[in-house]
């Protein structure tokens, strides 16, 4: 079953604005990952935050994790038209010695030039 649930389902902003997407999950996790999917393509890993971390940065991406609330947020600063894509959070739980991510429903982001 799906673990993460993203909010909002859809987000439309102007280029240069910041985009914030939220993810809630239900059970304990080892880490939480964010992926991007451009239309008609596979997913691309963006950033991973461990359960013992609270915030992480990578370029224009900022991820926070609140394990007490079982939630995470992805902030994209100074958005560009090329950021238009669907964004998925994925929580990793142990399975047979590996951590296989379970994906949420995703947030569809449209950045207008």
């Amino acid at each position: 079953s799906q673990q993460g649930e993203e909010d909002p389902q859809a987000l439309s902003i102007q280029e240069g604005e910041n985009a914030t997407m939220n993810c809630s999950y239900k059970t304990s996790i080892n880490n939480l990952q964010w992926y991007r999917q451009n239309s008609g393509r596979g997913l691309v890993h963006l950033i991973l935050i461990r359960s013992n971390e609270r915030e992480k940065h990578s370029g224009r991406l900022r991820v926070t994790l609140d394990t007490s609330k079982k939630s995470s947020s992805l902030l994209i600063t100074a958005s560009r038209a090329a950021d238009t894509a669907s964004y998925f959070c994925a929580t990793a739980q142990a399975s047979g010695g590996s951590y296989i991510p379970t994906f949420g429903r995703g947030t569809s982001l449209i950045v207008h030039p």
Binding site: Q2, G42, L43, H45, L48, Y99, I100, T102
Partner: protein, 118 residues
């Protein structure tokens, strides 16, 4: 990181037929994962394929409907059998790769195979 080639990229199939999707990785990997993404939906794991053993299927997916082969460490196939319109989806192949910046394994995906069943 691994590069995954997946084919076909898309196909239109008739009800009752079967289609095999191929996934080729440019490096040897232990596990390969097959996901299904129905229109506008998230990814659902179908099965995990290990070389030399039978695939492990998730709840709701069975081998008769989605037989998987894993003949070596760089290749896998997923067959969608006796297709119905409900099988219209994107099917994605994925492998784990070590991400040094993350300090953990993350998934790398193929571009996906978009199936439309009429």
């Amino acid at each position: 990181s691994a590069v995954i080639s997946q084919k076909p990229s898309r196909d239109i199939c008739q009800r009752g037929t079967s289609l095999t999707i191929q996934c080729q990785v440019d490096s040897q990997v232990t596990m390969m994962f097959w996901y299904r993404q129905q229109p506008g939906q998230s990814l659902t794991l179908i099965a995990t394929a290990n070389q030399g053993s039978e695939a492990t299927y998730e709840s709701g997916f069975v081998i008769d409907k989605f037989p998987i082969s894993r003949p070596n460490l760089t290749f896998s196939t997923l067959t969608v059998s006796n297709m119905s319109p409900e099988d219209s989806s994107i099917y994605l192949c994925s492998v784990e790769v070590w991400d040094s910046s993350a300090g953990a394994n993350v998934l790398t995906f193929g571009a996906g195979s978009r199936l439309t069943v009429l």
